[in-house]
Amino acid sequence: MTPLDSDIAHLLAGSMVLVSFLLLYQDRMFALLNFFALHACVLAFSVGWQAYLQRAPHLFITALIALVFKGVIIPVALHRIVVRLGIHRTIETVVSIGPTMLFGIALVGLSIVVMLPVTQAAGAFVREDLAFALSVVLLGFLMMVTRRNAVSQVIGFMSLENGLVLAATGARGMPLVVEISVGFSVLIAFIVVGIFLFRIRERFDTVDLQALDMSRGESGS
């Protein structure tokens, strides 16, 4: 592997962290969906580059799944759901942007501090990749925590899954079973979520999860 090869890999993995940050402060639905599509595309390129570097053609399938399924189909479908539910004008009250971003930076720092010393033996290339992947995962968590809207929570979850795929491809020669299953689980997860969104719509005329909090079993009487 030439230095340029690994530089490109780092560039792509690092871009995923960057796009994760971009996702973190989007407060309009459509913008959020677009950036998620970008996130998935960067993932696809990153996985594709890994496939080329590792001479592992099966990873191209994973890249293709990421590009077509997460990069196109899901954003389009969510776009339609958002329009149908009439929440496209909604501007979400995210926990104010400044603290969220600072917290995000802290999480990236944390993942680098945790991963780099631990993976000394694993080779320079794998460990940076893993540190990036963990950052994406943690930023996905942060997004799920700070959002109230069901659609943005789902996007947070999927960006988290993207981080996992990045980690799985960075681990050299990890059997294909797992990668496909990752794609598969997202698919199933998405179907489940889709059903939920529609049912939630049926009941409350809103996908604001705060409305759901009201109906908690514990409160009242």
Partner: protein, 483 residues
Amino acid sequence: MNASIGTAALAGLLGTPALGALILALVPSYRIAAPLNVALCALTLASAALLYLHRPEPSLYLLVDDVNTVFLIVGTLVGFTTSVFSAGYIAHELQTRRLKPRDLRFYHAMYQLLMFAMDLALVSNNIGLMWVAIELATLTTVVMVGIYRTNAALEAAWKYFILGSVGIALALFGTILVYLAAQEHLGQGILAMAWDRLAANSAGFDPALLNLSFVFLLLGYGTKVGLAPVHAWLPDAHAEGPTPISAVLSGLLLNVALFALLRFKLIMAGNPRVHSPGPMMITMGLISLVFAGFMIYRRRDIKRMFAYSSIEHMGIITLAFGLGGPLANFAGLLHMTMHSLTKSAIFFGVGYISQLEGTQRMADIRGLTHSQPLLGWLLVLGVVAIAGLPPFGVFTSEFLLVTSTFARSPWLAILLVIGLLIAFSALTLRLHGLAFGETARQHSLPAYRLAPMALHLGLVAAAGIYLPEPVVAWFRHVASQLG
């Protein structure tokens, strides 16, 4: 010869529920589907019993060993009795129109799919496959929890889905780290994910990576076990889903997640240079125990209360396995079996109670021993058993655990006893209101409907009074393998 019988049994164990799910998805009438569901579960149970006698050859994907046969037999037994209970339960739900026939078709197919996923998770020898199976089990239970489509059920299912996915994502990250640690030593590819190879060769793995991976795995699978502080989905999912699902969740799914954790603990145990995972498991177990004990006091909903009791008991079991050693492992294994049987029995009773009374609010339920004596007294027995009073098996296992803890670290034992006492007094306090007191109501419930509950409690009582020698030997053997 034995191996080929074993292979057939393994095929039966996985094939029956997988095919059953397809068939039940096509059967329109619940009158056919419910007995069919019972029959399929019986077949699965028979396959599991056969696996105890005849082991198939281990492959890179599937493995039947001493440890998972215990989990398999307990799991398929609870799955079978729950399907019997479920047949009566859903007939009532259909009458009261809480569920439509279409829902039931879905429900039965999902029930079999859940059984398939759990059996697969238990017999898988590949840590990736195990992850997929547990993810599948999570998804099937999520949709079943939301099946009533009430506001509360949707919120519970959503919360379960989000927290479960987060947990499962952490577990996958941990799994990837384990693979990374292994591939240095075992080479790239499928070998570095086969659990038996991992456990046998873990001495050469990078300890730092293994340490880090276990943190992710403990938090990830710990979410599914229902350990505090990542337990938040559990009470809602238990309270708002159909009661047979509450029984399966408590009796089965929590154990399967714990089993996954034990598999990884064994990988850790093979490497002398890693930090022992024991203290982490003990801490989380103890927190769950004490926290859940306090939470039981304040519950208003009967299913929610027993859900917290499940957290408490999973805490005890995790603590026991975290402590390790032959005696504590034995206690943990016995406690897991007893808890599965007792808690599912209690949920069977609670299911009928909430149907007869038309509510899950404990304030509205009084004097069950008068209104429906058999059900009321069985519930009393169930709660007495789960609270850890003799002569039931839960007492035996808790006693064993407390004594073995006292011998090794007295301070821990004191905390453990305090936790047990808190939960005990909370449960008895609540039981008094539920079971006794004046009531004008009279319910009629055919006695045969209570057979699964009576069977479970009978087994637990029998285990408490006299644990047969072969069972003791079997459990002792398994406990010695758990490190």
